[in-house]
C-alpha cells in the first residue's frame, strides 16, 4: 500500500494505491491520523488505484471519520471501482459517507 498526498484548495487529497487489508490497515490509519494531527480537516480519499479493501480497512476508515467528525472535519471519497466499490456497497459504507465519481466533483461539492 502507498499513500500520496496533495493539497487542493482547502482539502487534502489522499490517493491510496494497492491494498488496505489486515496487514496494511494500521499503516494506512497512522498516515491519516498524522494528517489530522497536522491540522488537515477535510480529507478526500481517492481510491481509484486501490485494488482491494477488507473489513480491517473499513475499520480504519471509520475510526478516521470519527476522529475528523469530533474535530469538525470531514472525510470524502472518490474513484471507487470494482471490488472496493462492492465492499462499500455490501457494508453500507456507501450510504454513510459522501462518495463522488471524480476528484473535481468532490472538491466542488464536498
Amino acid at each position: 500500500m502507498e499513500i500520496a498526498t496533495r493539497k487542493e484548495g482547502g482539502a487534502m487529497v489522499v490517493s491510496v494505491t494497492g491494498r488496505i487489508d489486515a496487514v496494511t490497515a494500521p499503516e494506512f490509519e497512522k498516515g491519516l491520523s498524522a494528517l489530522i494531527a497536522g491540522g488537515d480537516m477535510v480529507l478526500l480519499l481517492n481510491l481509484n488505484d486501490l485494488e482491494y479493501i477488507s473489513s480491517a480497512g473499513l475499520r480504519s476508515i471509520l475510526s478516521t471519520a470519527k476522529q475528523l467528525k469530533a474535530n469538525g472535519g470531514k472525510l470524502l471519497f472518490c474513484g471507487l471501482k470494482g471490488p472496493v466499490k462492492d465492499v462499500f456497497k455490501i457494508s453500507g459504507f456507501g450510504s454513510i459517507f459522501k462518495i463522488f465519481e471524480t476528484e473535481e466533483e468532490a472538491l466542488r461539492q464536498g
Partner: protein, 143 residues
C-alpha cells in the same frame, strides 16, 4: 499435468496472511473463477483467517490449515481448520448496517461479508479442531 498443492499449513500469524491467501486465490483461479470472484473469495478468507489469528490461540502459538478442492461443477470447497480454543464465528451478531458514523461499529462486518459472498458456511468442532467449510460458487455474487 502439473500437480498443485491441495493443502497449506502455516503458523496462525498475520505475517502468513499473504501466502495463505495466495494459496486460496490460485486454487480459485485454477478452477475457473474470474478476477472479480477471486477478490471476493480472497476477502472472505482474509476475514476468517484474521479472526483465527486474533482469537484461536490466546495463550499459545498454533497452526492454521487450508484445503481447497473442486466440488460440484462450478463450485469449490474451502476448508479452514485450527487447533485453537473452540470458537464458532457463525454465532457472532449481525452488524448494524444502518447507523451513522458516530454510532457505527465495524464489529461483525467480516463475518457479514463471508455470509454475503459464499453459498454455504458450516462450522464443526472435531478432534480438538475448529473446522469451517465453505461452499463457494465460482461466479461472482455482487451485482
Amino acid at each position: 499435468m502439473k500437480q498443485f498443492p491441495e493443502e497449506i499449513r502455516a503458523p496462525a500469524r498475520l505475517d502468513n496472511l499473504y501466502p495463505l491467501l495466495g494459496f486460496v486465490t490460485s486454487c480459485a483461479k485454477r478452477h475457473g473463477a474470474g478476477q472479480e470472484r477471486v477478490h471476493e473469495i480472497e476477502l472472505v478468507v482474509e476475514e476468517l483467517l484474521v479472526n483465527i489469528f486474533n482469537y484461536a490461540y490466546p495463550d499459545s502459538m498454533g497452526n492454521v490449515a487450508i484445503v481447497c478442492r473442486p466440488d460440484d461443477p462450478g463450485r469449490i470447497l474451502i476448508e479452514i481448520a485450527d487447533d485453537g480454543i473452540p470458537f464458532n464465528i457463525l454465532t457472532r451478531d449481525e452488524p448494524d448496517l444502518d447507523s451513522g458514523i458516530e454510532e457505527r461499529s465495524v464489529g461483525g462486518l467480516g463475518i457479514f461479508f463471508v455470509r454475503q459472498l459464499v453459498q454455504e458456511i458450516r462450522y464443526r468442532r472435531e478432534g480438538g479442531r475448529n473446522i469451517l467449510t465453505l461452499t463457494v460458487d465460482l461466479a461472482p455474487q455482487s451485482s
